[in-house]
Amino acid sequence: MADSKSGGHLEDIQDSIREHTKSLVESVEAGDFTSAIQHVQNLSDVRDQSLYREIGRLTRGLHDSIKNFEIAISDKDADPDADESKMADASDRLDYVIQSTNNAANKTMDLVEETIPVVDDLKSEAAELSVEWGKLLRREMEVSEFRQLYKKIDVFLKKVDGSSNTMSSNLSNILLAQDYQDLTGQVIQKVIKLVKGVENDLVDLVKMAGLVERISGIENTQEVTDTADVLLAEGPIVDAEEREDVVTSQDEVDDLLSSLGF
């Protein structure tokens, strides 16, 4: 961000150094050491000034990065009436996703659990009637039995009609229960955008902090230690195809376990 400016500064600095060095050489050659020392002093001033200027520039950059980051995690600057930061808003949104997927899953399971006995009931009655119908076809049925079958079929047909309505309505409701996908998709996209923005600001911040450290001579001796515990739960693997340390199917799990003697 400030690189184009520093290019100009750099040229100015190089020009001054060139000028002062030329004067220094001239003074030395002319034997004017008082003037030569003055030029050495000037050179030293140029170095100090450029250093101060660079630190000032970096500090401003760092300040801007911090400000951007704060705006991202807190919406209060943009809207003083907002009682929530963007981050808190994002977690509320994700809670909403959990809640609506949970509701949809339960609603779907309710309807499936309600439908299964209806289907089972029809299935067993149809099987029963089918046995009797076979008897009729083979002309093994008594007249009294036929009268009963006659009534049973009437009852069964009415039942099929009612049950079909129930099943059809349950299936439509199962379909409707999937509407969370659209809504949660939109919410998740917003949160992804926010996270990406925060990540970019954070990267800027780290870069600026690194530059300030380097130019001001602060050494960061703290080493980054990799303490990741492989057994720590990670949740669903979303990039399984690109990773070597994970299995991608139940078959691979079975192979791995059988290689261990399972």
């Binding site: 399971m109 994970v246 799990v253």
Partner: protein, 125 residues
């Protein structure tokens, strides 16, 4: 056959419960993590444990280890049903004495196979 299902998501418990019902196992109980599941196991006389790995409180691997360390429970068959898919995790579960490992998302068929396999072995031993 008394079965304990341990998972922090009620929908997953419900899915497993329904699949078990299809397989003829109706005596199922639920817990939402290891720390609520373990006391149930200790007092409930369960024949079989199905557990997730990633749960708040006590995780599934810790529950498995606690079960194996408890003299009264150490022979209870344990099936891990989890999204955790790192090879090291599967190896660790095997070393801790798991009887089966099913990765999520799973099919009804996969769950059925693993459960049947576990019972075959339990019956054989």
């Amino acid at each position: 056959m008394k079965i304990l299902i341990v998972d922090d998501f009620s929908t997953m418990r419900r899915i497993i419960k329904n699949l078990l019902k299809d397989l003829g196992f109706t005596n199922t109980h639920e817990a939402d993590d290891g720390s609520t599941g373990l006391p149930m196991l200790k007092t409930g006389d369960f024949d079989f444990l199905i557990t997730d790995w990633n749960m708040p409180g006590m995780t599934g691997i810790d529950l498995l280890r606690a079960v194996r360390a408890d003299e009264a429970l150490s022979h209870t068959p344990v099936l891990m049903v989890t999204a955790e898919a790192k090879r090291e995790q599967i190896v660790a579960a095997a070393q801790a004495g798991v009887n089966g490992y099913v990765v999520k998302p799973f099919t009804a068929q996969a769950l059925k196979e693993k459960i049947e396999k576990i019972f075959e072995r339990v019956d054989a031993s």
